[in-house]
């Protein structure tokens, strides 16, 4: 059923720290995506915006904000929020309307302007909000959660800080030729090792920055794309799953896992279940994947994702990395865009940015970072408060 929806155009505003209103990045990305598809803004029947929570009311109603900025054309509108998974949820809304036959052309846009430094909760005293409490009572920043996962890989699987640095070196190399990446500079393992420790064992260069950016995707029904003769990729899956009780991996912004006393944990962790759902929906498996864009909030987390998306068994990610399998030219390149290591995170845009990269790869237009013969790409990402996000595209 999901084969009935097509990706016909993608666009991005380059990532950076530009300090401009988020809508300017969103409009830039939207216009680029429309131009890419050969469609006009007047053809768009539905706009779905990814909400940003750091830019006031305009950010809360992002869909309408983008629609107004592009010029009111009477299109239907929706706004989605799922933290880092926002883009996938916005895409899912658009896909559902197309599958329901309610529209043929939808524009999905996400953009953000982010503050410098650690992401912190909004101001005010909120004793019932775990995202506020974790800072107040524990001083538990986002990198501290990433560091827990990193340390566990070291103590359980024998990962080393050199492995983590190798992920950064790889992704920096991948992003060198990406015109939309914020950081386009080779990084050496020595430079990673010389950067200050933020949350042991992770150093500054192991952790992604926060960035401004915008990304957009144009979806149509497959029939519409055919009737207009528009080159289209197949949107094979958009998995926006929530966890299954009991969730046994400690996650931002929680203080504890779910208890395993009343119900025994299932075979898959929440992160495993995200890609699992996407593969099932797509009718594909890890063996079909030509490339993956995964959420490398930290270098070590990229290694977790190798296992979560089924590229290898738990504990084997370091071997995969060391063998060069996930490097451009290897068996299944991961983060050929350069990943968050080269982009930094622009929350409501990031899951869409992953989709943009997969699209360019499948169209053979990823100049300087092309995965040769790419036919299937998967994205994976997880948003705060139980938001899975995995998108599968194929030629």
């Amino acid at each position: 059923m999901s084969d009935d929806v097509a990706v016909v155009g993608v666009g991005m505003h380059p990532w950076g720290k530009w300090g401009r209103p988020f809508q300017s990045y969103g409009v830039h990305a939207a216009r680029e995506a429309l131009a890419d598809s050969g469609l006009d803004w007047s053809d768009v029947q539905l706009v779905v915006g990814g909400e940003t929570v750091r830019n006031g009311y305009a950010g809360y109603v992002a869909g309408a904000t983008f629609a107004q900025a592009l010029g009111w054309n009477g299109a239907r509108v929706a706004t989605a929020y799922a933290a880092c998974a926002t883009g996938a949820q916005a895409l899912d809304v658009a896909r559902a309307r197309i599958l329901a036959g309610m529209c043929d052309v939808a524009l999905v846009v996400g953009a953000d302007t982010t503050p410098k430094g650690f992401l912190a909760p909004n101001a005010g005293e909120r004793w019932d909000d775990p995202d506020w409490l974790r800072f107040r009572l524990l001083g538990m920043t986002n990198p501290a959660y990433f560091a827990l996962y990193a340390r566990r890989r070291m103590d359980l699987f024998g990962a080393t800080v050199d492995d983590f640095a190798a992920v950064k070196v790889k992704n920096a190399r991948h992003g060198l030729a990406n015109p939309r990446a914020r950081y386009r500079k080779a990084v050496t393992a020595d430079e990673v090792a010389a950067s200050p420790v933020v949350a042991d064992p992770l150093r500054l260069l192991d952790i992604c920055a926060t960035s401004d950016g915008g990304a957009a995707v144009v979806l149509t029904s497959a029939a519409f794309a055919r009737s207009r003769g528009i080159p289209a990729l197949r949107l094979r899956a958009v998995a926006t799953v929530t966890p299954t009780f009991p969730n046994t991996v400690i996650e931002m912004p929680n203080f504890a896992t779910d208890s395993t006393v009343a119900v025994a944990p299932g075979e898959l962790t929440f992160r495993d279940s995200i890609a699992h759902a996407a593969y099932e929906e797509a009718g594909l498996g890890p063996e079909d994947v030509s490339l993956a864009e995964v959420y490398d909030l930290s270098t070590a987390l990229e290694l977790d994702w190798y296992e979560n998306i089924g590229l290898c068994k738990p504990g084997d990610a370091e071997a995969l990395l060391r063998a060069g399998d996930t490097t451009l030219g290897g068996r299944v390149p991961v983060n050929p865009s350069g990943g968050l290591a080269c982009f930094g995170e622009a929350v409501p845009a990031q899951a869409l940015a992953q989709v943009c990269e997969v699209a360019w790869q499948l169209w053979g237009r990823a100049e300087g970072r092309q995965v040769e013969g790419a036919r299937v790409g998967i994205t994976a990402n997880q948003g705060l408060f139980g938001h899975g996000s995995s998108v599968v595209l194929s030629v």
């Binding site: 501290a144 340390r151 896992t257």
Partner: protein, 112 residues
């Protein structure tokens, strides 16, 4: 069983109950993982020293409850004192002092 205590709904999809009992959690557990905060966290974290002094954090697995619970690590201990699987015990220590002079305490994990 939930931490912090749950007062609204049970997350188990097979349980529609909305009444909760207060139970004491185990005071001992094993380290699931650990890290530290080398830079001062942003507000609403309340700084306790000037200049800032890093502190360690641990996620601790409680066997009887089947829970992993986060906490700061007791004063005087750092990441060098910890390994995944090590036993730790709960201690209560001051967290910060309110503007009116009230000392707020918190749970922390201390290596045994």
């Amino acid at each position: 069983m939930f931490f912090p205590r749950e007062e609204a709904f049970c997350r188990n999809p097979g349980c529609a109950g909305e009444a909760f009992d207060e139970v004491a959690l185990s005071r001992r557990g094993r380290v699931w993982s650990y890290t530290d905060a080398r830079y001062q966290p942003p507000p609403p974290y309340v700084p306790v020293s000037d200049p800032y002094e890093p502190f360690a954090l641990a996620a601790v697995s409680l066997e009887a409850e089947g829970l992993v619970v986060l906490g700061q690590v007791a004063t005087g201990f750092g990441v060098a004192d910890l390994k995944v699987g090590d036993e730790v015990e709960l201690v209560v220590e001051p967290l910060y002092t309110d503007d009116d002079g009230t000392v707020r305490t918190t749970w922390r994990w201390r290596p045994v």
